[in-house]
């Protein structure tokens, strides 16, 4: 039965004038799956999400969930999808409990059930002490968690979370990921939009990388990392403001975030890499370096040419 509710986009394309925001994107998410949508800013993730929830219409292609055609039936799309946008929720005048209760009711939840589940989520994310505080007085992190509860107190078959952990402290991030897993366990297809690759690596079952409107890779985190097996990540912290040095030939690919230069090298070049880094430090061009196993971040850099937005 569960297979009946697979969520699919097939060749979804969307243009704004000459800009191709989405170029024939096809993907499938099964019920219970946590699916990451990764890509740099402007890659076309938001455009895709807005088409799923019925705010934008694809130029061509299909979006379906089970028997529902979400392009032809935006009302169904809005009922089927719960959505946490990247921007903060407009809850200045709401107490947490009220915001959660009203959105649960708007989503069609039964009064008592919405209250019960809302309170459970407020407890589970440990924000109970602010449950009756007005949104205007909440910290960014607590507002974010409130938004998460609003989006998931009465979840749809698809739950779309756009950067859910922004501003959230490390302890509650962990609690939040637990709840994301719970949504999967309930049978929701969770689509996680993020540019935080490290977090995605730990929390998604599968992921897609989108760049310049195209889906350029898809798979489990470990299948995507397979190509980088036998490689290492060499990270060099440059002197503030220093130009990027000329890279030795053994560097396979690289990206710079601020003063941090992230490179991927073969294991065989490890010694050469360390010696080169040491020379950079001796020449006062770098402050420190680190050599480590490759992560999904390196795959992401290789695919997109960008480092993820949050430096490691």
């Amino acid at each position: 039965m569960a297979e009946d509710w697979v969520f699919r986009t097939v060749d979804v394309s969307k243009r704004y004038g000459d800009t191709v925001a989405n170029d024939r994107i096809s993907l499938a998410v099964r019920p219970g799956e946590v699916y990451g949508l990764l890509g740099p800013n402007g890659a076309g993730k938001s455009t895709l999400v807005k088409q799923i929830i019925g705010l934008l219409k694809p130029d061509s292609g299909a979006i379906t969930l089970g028997p529902f055609d979400l392009v032809d039936d935006p009302d169904a799309a809005r009922q089927l999808c719960s959505y946490l946008p990247q921007a903060q929720m407009p809850i200045d005048s709401f107490k947490i409990r009220e915001a959660v209760h009203i959105t649960g009711r708007i989503r069609g939840g039964d009064d008592g059930e919405v209250r019960r589940r809302g309170d459970e989520l407020i407890d589970a994310l440990q924000i109970g002490e602010w449950a009756d505080t007005l949104g205007a007085r909440l910290s960014g992190g607590v507002r974010r968690l409130t938004g998460f509860i609003m989006a998931t107190v009465w979840p749809g078959k698809i739950v779309i979370l756009d950067e859910p952990t922004n501003d959230v402290d490390p302890l509650r991030r962990r609690l939040l990921w637990e709840q994301v897993r719970q949504l999967g366990a309930l049978g929701a297809a969770v689509i996680l939009v993020t540019h935080n690759v490290m977090e995605a690596e730990k929390s998604v079952d599968r992921l897609a990388v989108i760049n310049e409107g195209r889906l350029i890779a898809e798979g489990t985190p470990s299948s995507l990392k397979a190509e980088d097996r036998g490689r290492l990540r060499l990270e060099l912290m440059l002197e503030p403001g220093a130009p990027t040095p000329e890279l030795p030939e053994f560097v396979l690919h690289d990206a710079r975030v601020g003063n941090n230069l992230v490179m991927v090298i073969d294991e065989a070049s490890a010694t050469a890499g360390i010696e080169w880094s040491q020379r950079m430090m001796d020449g006062a061009r770098a402050e420190e370096y680190a050599l480590a196993a490759t992560t999904l971040e390196d795959v992401y850099i290789r695919l997109t040419g960008h480092a993820s937005e949050e430096p490691l």
Binding site: K57, P74, S93, E113, G156, G187
Partner: protein, 263 residues
């Protein structure tokens, strides 16, 4: 560990019909009222003061005010407060939602668009009432006039409010950039205050502009409301109702089009 009833997930059946509409309407009205609650007392107070202020202000312009003039001006003040609620508050709020990024969340909620719109209209009616009453009571106290209120006051005021609110609403939703929405909204305030024959006779305007106002809704709204509140000042009221009704239908259609549209 949190659990949720399996039934809450997704859609065993797509919800539709009157029950779904009413539930959406109630929930959205609750959302709007709660959303406005910090501002609601201030907004109503500002409405009250602007209604009363307009009436008193007119009195400062004209020292020895004849009764007929007082009636004309104070009913004009009522109409100005009614129109301003619609063309100012809605656009400002939508522009705000677009700027703080909450617009997508609000419009991705599974509520019928018409239910959200009607909830917004109802809120506007309540916000507009104090200003209207304020203008009327201040006029009675300051100029010692008495109004002849007929049952037509209900359709006249509702039609004025619905038309103004929906025009503002459709405008705010159809202009993509919130900064432009705010500029247009400010231009409308200026155009309605200064260049619409609401609190002065249309004859005072250049001929072409007076002619134009025969077909624009604002002067006709004033004529309707004036007719419902006084005896013998307003003429040709049937035509005013027709013009405003056509504009209201246009605003309903435009709102439906704009809100249902996916780019």
């Amino acid at each position: 560990m949190t659990t949720v009833a399996e039934s809450s997930l997704g859609l065993p059946q797509k919800r539709s019909g009157l029950g779904h509409w009413l539930a959406g309407f109630r929930a959205m009205l609750r959302w709007e009222v709660t959303n406005m609650r910090l501002l609601l007392p201030i907004t109503m107070m500002v409405q009250l003061l602007s209604g009363a202020g307009l009436v008193i202000g007119f009195g400062l312009l004209i020292s020895d005010m004849p009764q007929q003039t007082a009636l004309f001006l104070s009913t004009g003040a009522v109409v100005i407060t009614l129109i301003l609620v619609g063309v100012v508050m809605g656009p400002q709020l939508v522009a705000q939602q677009k700027m703080d990024g909450s617009y997508d969340f609000m419009w991705a909620l599974p509520v019928p668009r018409s239910a959200s719109t009607v909830a917004w209209l109802v809120l506007n009616v309540f916000i507009a009432l104090p200003g209207m009453l304020g203008a009327l009571f201040v006029a009675m106290w300051r100029y010692d006039v008495s109004f002849a209120v007929s049952w037509l006051v209900v359709p006249a005021i509702l039609l004025t409010l619905i038309c103004g609110t929906l025009l503002g609403y459709a405008m705010a939703h159809s202009i993509p950039r919130p900064e432009i929405t705010q500029l247009v909204s400010q231009f409308l305030i200026f155009a309605i205050f200064g260049f619409s024959p609401i609190s002065y006779p249309a004859e005072n305007l250049p001929g072409w502009l007076a002619e134009l106002h025969e077909y624009l809704p604002f002067a006709q709204m004033a004529n309707m409301v004036r007719d419902a509140l006084t005896d013998g000042i307003a003429t040709n009221v049937g035509r005013s109702y027709s013009v405003v009704a056509v504009w209201t239908l246009f605003a309903v259609g435009l709102s439906g089009l704009v809100l249902g549209r996916r780019k």
